[in-house]
Symmetry: C2
Subunit: 147 residues, 2 copies
């Protein structure tokens, strides 16, 4: 079994996309993160869902989440307004996470090794610089677990 | 909106469960990780899916994933045999990840703050020491994103 047998379309976001669009993709598709592409469509890093929250949550709540409880429920429910006008670029950590990349011929052992080494639950599959899709940890386990 | 309105059942594994069972749960339920409970059922940490792979992948492949390609495809497909007889305890990292825990009254802002601070896409919800379930990042985004 090779990467080409396991890959699936995977949504990408650009660095200058509105981060609220990224949040919608994460919610709709039940994904561990999104692939961020740089100029020219080259996969560049992963945007983990928790990183989107970091942009929306006020600093004092992040330091001490118990303080969040003093905010009344109506305002708490609206905290994602903090994302208005912000871009994916702003949501990325200072040192963006490594996105493992491989080619369609990679074996499942190579895919698993990439995921294990980078602690990323997805590997981008690229052919000649073009992003074909991604292999997720779930897709991999699904196919290699003994029946 | 409060944690009680967002929580869902979440599969748990015990420290001495076979790690292959954990891999099956991850594959079947499309989860970012599993809640590991200690003796007495108290939630203790998260087992991320990539950590299960770390236990199965040979050390030389983890150091250099390109070396995995020298293993022939039939053997590569069977790499999860490395999990035979191993337990969840063995799959946990030396410093287990913090599992954020809250109570059913937590607001969405408190849940988001916990996820952002610990970079965990799930928060365990506990009442009087009993695990009620978990709130996932997806469930949270689903409910708080503006229409």
């Amino acid at each position: 079994m090779r990467a080409r047998d396991l890959l699936a379309d995977f949504p990408v976001v650009a660095l200058d996309s509105p981060v609220i669009d990224a949040a919608r993709l994460l919610a709709d598709q039940d994904l561990p993160g999104l692939i961020v592409v740089g100029d020219g469509g080259t996969p560049f890093t992963i945007l983990p869902g928790t990183q989107v929250l970091r942009l929306a949550v006020p600093g004092y709540c992040m330091e001490d989440p118990a303080l969040a409880r003093v905010v009344d429920e109506a305002h708490a429910d609206a905290f994602l307004r903090g994302l208005d006008g912000r871009t994916v670029r702003e949501a990325l950590p200072e040192r963006p996470r490594e996105l493992p990349v491989t080619d369609p011929d990679a074996t499942v052992l190579e895919l698993a090794s990439l995921m294990a080494r980078t602690r990323s639950p997805l590997v981008a599959v690229v052919d000649d610089g073009r992003l074909l899709g991604a292999v997720t940890l779930q897709a991999l386990l699904d196919r290699v677990l003994p029946a």
